[in-house]
């Protein structure tokens, strides 16, 4: 049996970073994690929701100001891992100035990316969100990357009209 062993402490350390991990935690992801964009709360949002992942304790509040069919402002606050916070940061930045229908399409596209659709890795509409394609190799982390988008779906998804979700709507978020 020549099974690989973890090297004993003090032995020469392998300082290389495995490709899958480098792919999962790309620089742009770490940058959004440490310097989140669009972070905070809106003073007068038309839509607000807080959702959590009860298994891990991640919590995200997403607030939107929607005028007509355009998302004018998007802010988030909360806590979580690098994957969930980078994802919601990238999403919130992308949402501002986006039509509601396009935001829905973005959500669908991003979900497909996370489930491994390779052709989307070059999709310009996804922007920085493309950097999260590495999550597809870590199925247990997909729910992290989708927490922000789950908030978005709850707020503007096809199932609910965008007008009856005014501020403070908080179903407690059992996702």
């Amino acid at each position: 049996m020549t099974e690989p062993k973890n090297p004993p402490y003090g032995a020469p350390i392998d300082r290389s970073i495995p490709d899958a991990l480098a792919g999962l935690f790309q620089e742009v992801i770490l940058d959004h994690y440490r310097r989140p964009r669009n972070k905070g709360a809106l003073e007068d949002p038309t839509h607000t929701i807080t959702m959590n992942n009860p298994l891990c304790g991640d919590v995200i509040e997403l607030s939107l100001t929607v005028r007509g069919d355009v998302i004018e402002k998007a802010r988030f606050q909360g806590k979580g891992c690098a994957i969930s916070l980078a994802s919601v940061s990238m999403m919130a930045r992308k949402l501002e100035g986006t039509k509601v229908a396009d935001a829905r399409a973005l959500s669908v596209k991003f979900t497909r990316l996370l489930h491994g659709e390779r052709e989307l890795q070059g999709d310009k509409e996804l922007g920085d969100l493309r950097s999260l394609s590495g999550v597809s190799k870590f199925p247990v982390r997909i729910k992290c990357a989708l927490l922000g988008f789950n908030c978005l779906e709850e707020l503007i998804g096809e199932s609910g009209s965008s007008d009856d979700r005014a501020g403070g709507h908080e179903p407690g978020g059992a996702r």
């Binding site: 973890n6 090297p7 402490y9 350390i13 300082r15 991990l21 935690f25 891990c56 891992c81 992290c144």
Partner: protein
């Protein structure tokens, strides 16, 4: 002769021989030898336990306490024999051993049966701020049902119970004091004997959550002096779905049934029924026969190795782990340094515990990340989540070394070190 005996007595603990009993450990994950550091969530089981379960199903399975046929007699003997093994192991009477699904069901049984019969409006239940959700939520439900109030002993910054709080909180209104023997996130060992004494002085009963203690130490119910003690099989090398509630005989005799059904009755008419004596009164339906048999085998396995010897080994390993982790810059360990078990919660730099766990998993290292069913305590500690490495009889220093290397890898992935 005496030299041989001495040699046996001082023989070092042979962890490699123990590891050879656990087939699951000899595999690779992501190209690395599996390093299993999540035994506080669920331990692994040796082939002796797996064989006992298989042998039961292959040769002796039938329903218990029912038929007059040979297999039913064998199954009943094995099931009741398992109860005897558990009783002997914890210094209890066999009639005081109720088989349940696990610690959680054991506590729910006490809350549902004893609690409903004995707790009313204005009564108080004294808990602590370090309880697992399983020793908190059942009492919240009971309090909502009965109008009782929950009180909480504080946790010091070092991670110990503030024992003085018992003096402040205990009163004639206190019906029950419930406390964990060993914290599942801080690893701190609580002075349950002292707490049981304080509870009794106030005229209250004492329940101890033994989920993290039973796998690691010799237990004697008489010595602890509590009234209820609950633990799980799957954390002590036994199967999932089996656990034990121990309660003093006279309490079990008085407590009303927890669930109704077969096995727990004495006689039944369409209008009413009378109950079997404890413990069967609390075991409605076909019990987890194979689970009890597997648990008994796990106890025999641990007893053969000697829990005191295991304890010494685990304490040495824990000290080694704490020392190694201490060497890592920006790594913060929660809980006290002394008087603790091999459950080590920590955070590292600004790396979220889930990200750390993902990176460690890439090296074949299994740890827990999150709130450990301990949300109020996490809030108290001022963290959202921690990483948790928990040690057991099959872990080695090399595995601790692998953990430390993996932690350093996470810093490289996050661009913190070269």
């Amino acid at each position: 002769m005496s030299t041989v005996e001495t040699a046996i007595a001082v023989a070092p603990y042979d962890v490699e021989r123990v590891r050879a009993d656990f087939p699951i450990l000899s595999q690779t994950i992501n190209g690395h030898a599996l390093v299993y550091l999540d035994s506080a969530a669920s331990a692994q089981r040796p082939y002796q336990v797996l064989d006992a379960i298989r042998l039961h199903y292959e040769t002796s399975h039938a329903n218990v306490h029912r038929g007059a046929h040979e297999l039913s007699v064998r199954a009943t003997d094995a099931y009741e024999g398992a109860r005897r093994t558990v009783a002997d192991h914890i210094g209890a009477d066999v009639a005081e051993i109720v088989f349940v699904r696990g610690t959680t069901e054991g506590i729910n049984l006490v809350a549902g049966s004893w609690g409903t019969a004995n707790v009313g409006p204005g009564d108080e239940i004294v808990l602590t701020k370090m309880e697992h959700h399983s020793n908190l939520v059942p009492w919240q439900l009971l309090a909502q049902r009965t109008g009782a109030t929950l009180r909480f002993v504080d946790v010091s910054p070092e991670g110990r119970l503030v024992l003085e709080d018992y003096g402040r909180l205990l009163s004639a209104r206190t019906r029950l004091v419930a406390v964990t023997h060993i914290s599942n996130s801080l690893g701190v060992v609580n002075p349950v004997r002292e707490i049981a004494r304080l509870a009794h002085e106030a005229g209250a009963l004492c329940l101890v959550d033994g989920a993290q203690a039973a796998p690691h130490r010799e237990l004697d119910m008489g010595e602890i002096g509590c009234d209820f003690y609950a633990f799980s099989g799957h954390k002590m090398c036994g199967p999932t779905g089996i656990g034990v509630l121990w309660a003093r005989r006279e309490l079990l005799d008085e407590m009303p049934p927890y669930q109704g059904g077969g096995e727990m009755i004495s006689s039944v008419t369409l209008e009413a029924s009378t109950w079997a004596d404890a413990p069967l009164k609390f075991e409605a339906g076909t019990p987890n026969i194979a689970g009890a048999i597997g648990l008994a085998e796990a106890i025999r396995y641990l007893d053969r190795l000697d829990l005191d010897v295991l304890h010494t080994y685990e304490m040495e390993l824990t000290r080694y782990a704490l020392d190694r982790l201490d060497e890592i810059e920006d790594l913060r360990i929660y809980g006290p340094r002394e008087g603790r078990a091999g459950v080590i919660s920590f955070t590292y730099k600004d790396i979220h515990p889930h990200d750390l766990a993902t990176i460690l998993n890439h090296r074949g290292i299994a740890i827990r990340a999150g709130h450990h069913c301990n949300q109020p305590l996490m809030k108290h500690l001022g963290v959202d989540a921690t990483a948790r490495a928990s040690l057991y009889l099959y872990n080695t220093r090399e595995e601790i070394d692998a953990l430390c290397d993996g932690i350093l890898l996470s810093a490289r992935v996050f661009g913190e070190i070269a």
